[in-house]
Every structure is written in structure tokens, then in C-alpha cells.
């Protein structure tokens, strides 16, 4: 099964209906998806996302191909936004089409877990009082980063 993989990093909003319709049209039994939304609270007014176009897209593509090698997928879509987003805005879509519903759901979980914790993005939070701060890498991410930085 050769999976039809679509990976994008874009400032524009994500058209969930159109993206899922593309995967439905591949003829599998089902399409699983996960849509991430910017959460508010704590006075957050905006989340700013920065990425390295070459690295971010290359790594997202590699992980999507890894998912397609592990599960019998007809297609996979991973779209991540960058730039300034407000609470409630869509930030990421992962979706997978497969003849097997468990495969579609597991591949989706795999890719969103990687995207939310290890994908090459940097996030800055802006608050109502005018302050802002870069989100620190969590310990787990530092460890993940350490793995590649100690290979030398």
C-alpha cells in the first residue's frame, strides 16, 4: 500500500472538511483525524509559532512516512500552522485514511504525539498585560533533544 502523503506548514487556516474529503476519496473504509486548537486561559491573547521551513517540513514528512510504513494507510495528512494565532484558532490537523479503522486511529495518535512534543517549532505566548514569553522545552523534549546531540 503506497500512502498518499500531504505535509504542509502554512500560516493560513485549515479547511478541515476539504482536507478530510481528500482522504475519504482515496477509497478506504475510514478516515481518522485530530484537530488541535489553541487553548486560552491565564490571560493568553496570542500564541506565536516559529519554524525552520527546511527542517520542520522535512521532519514532518519523515515521521508521516514512518507512520505509513508501520500501518496500512492509503493516505496521510499533516498540516501545521505558524505565525500568530488566537485562542480557539486551529493550530494543527493530522489525519489518516485506511481500510482498517484501528490503523487510521493509531497512525493519527502516533503523528499528533510526535507533533505536539518533538516537532521543530518554537512557541511564544502573548498575554493581556502586554508581556510575552517563549515556551520552554519540557524535560521530555530536552531528553529527546539530548539523544540527537550526544550521537557525535
Amino acid at each position: 500500500m503506497i500512502a498518499d502523503i500531504r505535509v504542509t506548514v502554512d500560516a493560513a487556516d485549515i479547511d478541515i472538511g476539504a482536507e478530510l474529503a481528500r482522504l475519504e476519496a482515496l477509497g478506504g473504509g475510514g478516515v481518522a483525524s485530530f484537530t488541535g486548537v489553541v487553548r486560552g486561559g491565564g490571560g493568553l491573547t496570542a500564541l506565536e509559532l516559529e519554524h525552520h521551513p527546511g527542517i520542520t517540513l522535512a521532519m514532518m514528512t519523515r515521521i508521516a512516512e514512518e507512520a505509513a510504513a508501520r500501518w496500512p494507510l492509503l493516505g496521510m495528512t499533516a498540516i501545521h500552522r505558524y505565525g500568530r494565532l488566537a485562542p480557539g484558532d486551529r493550530i494543527v490537523l493530522v489525519a489518516a485514511a485506511s481500510p482498517h479503522r484501528a490503523a487510521a486511529l493509531e497512525a493519527t495518535a502516533f503523528l499528533i504525539d510526535w507533533l505536539k512534543t518533538r516537532a521543530p517549532f518554537w512557541k511564544k505566548e502573548h498575554f493581556a498585560d502586554g508581556s510575552s514569553r517563549w515556551v520552554e522545552a519540557r524535560a521530555a523534549d530536552d531528553e529527546a533533544a539530548a539523544r540527537w546531540s550526544t550521537k557525535a
Partner: protein
């Protein structure tokens, strides 16, 4: 040969540039050497690279360790640890 250096996130903000082209001397052999050489400029560069444990790097589209040689590199990115999307 000149190298294009890309800066991201807090490092970009501290230096005040998202990219610059540099021509390091011959004794700048590795990523770690390059970061040390850039930090020696002082000012924003010194501030950006004060905590070396928090500097990550990539040559082209591949992550690179501090010990990776930079010979032949055209584009090197320097950035803090990634935080996920």
C-alpha cells in the same frame, strides 16, 4: 566560503537578526567553534549564546551536534530546544 547563519526564537530576538552571512576563520572547525566565535562578538551575540547547553544546531535540513564539522556547509541554523507544535 561565506556561510548563511539562520537564527530562531529567543536567539533571533537576542541578536536582532533572523539571518546573517559570515566568513569564519580557518580555526573555526565545528558547530561549537562557530558558536564560540559568534559569541565573542559580544552584545546580542554574547547574550544569545550565554547558555551553551541550550543551543541546538542544524546544517541544511539536518540536526547537527556541537562537534559536527562545518566544512562545506552553506546554511547553518542556531536555535533553542524545540517545544513541539
Amino acid at each position: 566560503m561565506p556561510i548563511e547563519i539562520l537564527y530562531f526564537a529567543g536567539i533571533r530576538e537576542a541578536i536582532g537578526l533572523s539571518a546573517e552571512t559570515v566568513s569564519p576563520p580557518a580555526d573555526v572547525v565545528t558547530i561549537a567553534d562557530l558558536v564560540g566565535w559568534l559569541a565573542a562578538r559580544g552584545g546580542g551575540h554574547a547574550e544569545a549564546f550565554a547558555d551553551r547547553a541550550r543551543i541546538r544546531a542544524a546544517i541544511g535540513s539536518d540536526f547537527a551536534d556541537p562537534g559536527t564539522p562545518i566544512a562545506g556547509a552553506r546554511e547553518i541554523a542556531l536555535f533553542p530546544p524545540v517545544t513541539g507544535g
